[in-house]
């Protein structure tokens, strides 16, 4: 089982157990991003996390966005990069840039 498949299975299991779940997927990277495009992070409404979209630098910010997407149902495309003040706040120290797509698991 690939790690991406594993995260999907975990997310599906949470959803089947009745918890709202959002999926975050790295869709584009520039520079020294630790996880390639296609890497996934699943987030549940109670705050469970599976997988990763970075080396841990932006997971907190992505999890916050995921909670919002669970409530609204609307997907989001998040930008993280060194030119982005928010990225400094969440500590993307590696100097990479990436885009993360966040969607609700309906």
């Amino acid at each position: 089982m690939s790690d991406s498949e594993d995260v999907l299975a975990t997310a599906a299991a949470w959803r089947a157990a009745g918890e709202p779940v959002a999926l975050a997927t790295v869709v584009e990277t520039w520079g020294s991003s630790p996880r390639p495009a296609g890497s996934r992070l699943a987030v549940s409404a109670t705050g469970k996390l599976a997988g990763s979209v970075s080396g841990g630098c932006i997971e907190g910010a992505v999890a916050d966005a995921a909670q919002q997407t669970m409530r609204t149902g609307s997907p989001q495309l998040l930008d993280f990069g060194i030119s982005d003040e928010r990225a400094w706040e969440v500590g993307l120290a590696c100097g990479g840039k990436l885009k993360v797509f966040v969607e609700k698991l309906a």
């Binding site: 498949e5 999907l8 599906a12 495009a37 296609g38 797509f101 609700k104 698991l105 309906a106």
Partner: protein, 238 residues
């Protein structure tokens, strides 16, 4: 992601069927290829993403799409249900490989020693023929017994598998090369066999040897410089 799409994606994965997930980033609209008919450019991007096993971005009619390949796991065929195999199999599983162990010696290839692993007890050439190694398969022979290793290597060398490793010292390997030459394999084929198997990390214990093998398999898969071996010295008296 809709429940129907998630179910279809998981069904494809369970059936080991390659599919690409396409997502329109403006609104999250999604579909699976080749299940859904798609405009040419999207279908081509999906096919390329699966072939290269790499995600891609595409802009079509002003809309950004993310193309996410979902290939079945890489396969690892381990010939020889030996102690090193017991260390290698769980490591390889954790790394994402679908693992099969081949050993006709039923006392070795037991569910006790390899819990939850597909075990094949046929003779190694029959087993290898049935498993049909492809370009997403690695083959490692560990029996140290020519009667078992050689037929498996013979089939592996006739396949497009991306990694062939054989346990044994340089001296053992020189004898093996001579036997495989008698079976009709030339120098180019022989150069595909990594022996002594594994990256040279001076491994001693079974788990250390397993680690060196798995590291070399990954290096070969990813095209790392570490995976390139110097051409073997011309055959001298071994």
């Amino acid at each position: 992601m809709t429940p129907a799409l998630l179910a279809a994606l998981q069904a494809a994965q369970a059936a080991k069927r390659p599919v690409a997930l396409l997502t329109r980033l403006s609104d999250g609209e999604q579909c699976l290829w080749p299940d859904a008919a798609l405009p040419g450019a999207l279908a081509e991007a999906a096919e390329a993403a699966l072939r290269d096993d790499a995600a891609a971005n595409l802009t079509l009619d002003g809309e950004a799409w993310f193309v996410h390949p979902h290939n079945p796991p890489l396969r690892l065929i381990v010939v020889g249900a030996v102690h090193i195999a017991q260390a290698l199999v769980p490591m390889a599983q954790t790394t994402g490989f679908a693992v099969t162990v081949v050993d006709p010696r039923r006392a070795w290839a037991t569910a006790d020693r390899f819990p939850g692993i597909t075990l094949i007890h046929e003779w190694t050439d029959d087993a290898m023929r049935a498993l049909a190694p492809d370009a997403r398969t690695a083959v490692v022979t560990l029996t140290h017994d020519p009667k078992l290793d050689d037929p498996a290597l013979d089939i592996a060398l006739r396949s497009p598998c991306f990694y062939i490793g054989a346990l044994g010292s340089r001296r053992t390997h020189a004898k093996r090369v001579a036997r495989l030459a008698e079976m009709g394999h030339g120098e180019a084929a022989m150069a595909r066999i990594r022996a002594p198997v594994g990256l040279d990390i001076a491994a001693v214990t079974a788990p250390e040897i397993a680690l060196s093998i798995l590291a070399e398999v990954v290096a070969a898969r990813r095209g790392a410089a570490l995976a390139r071996r110097a051409a073997p010295a011309p055959a001298a008296a071994a």
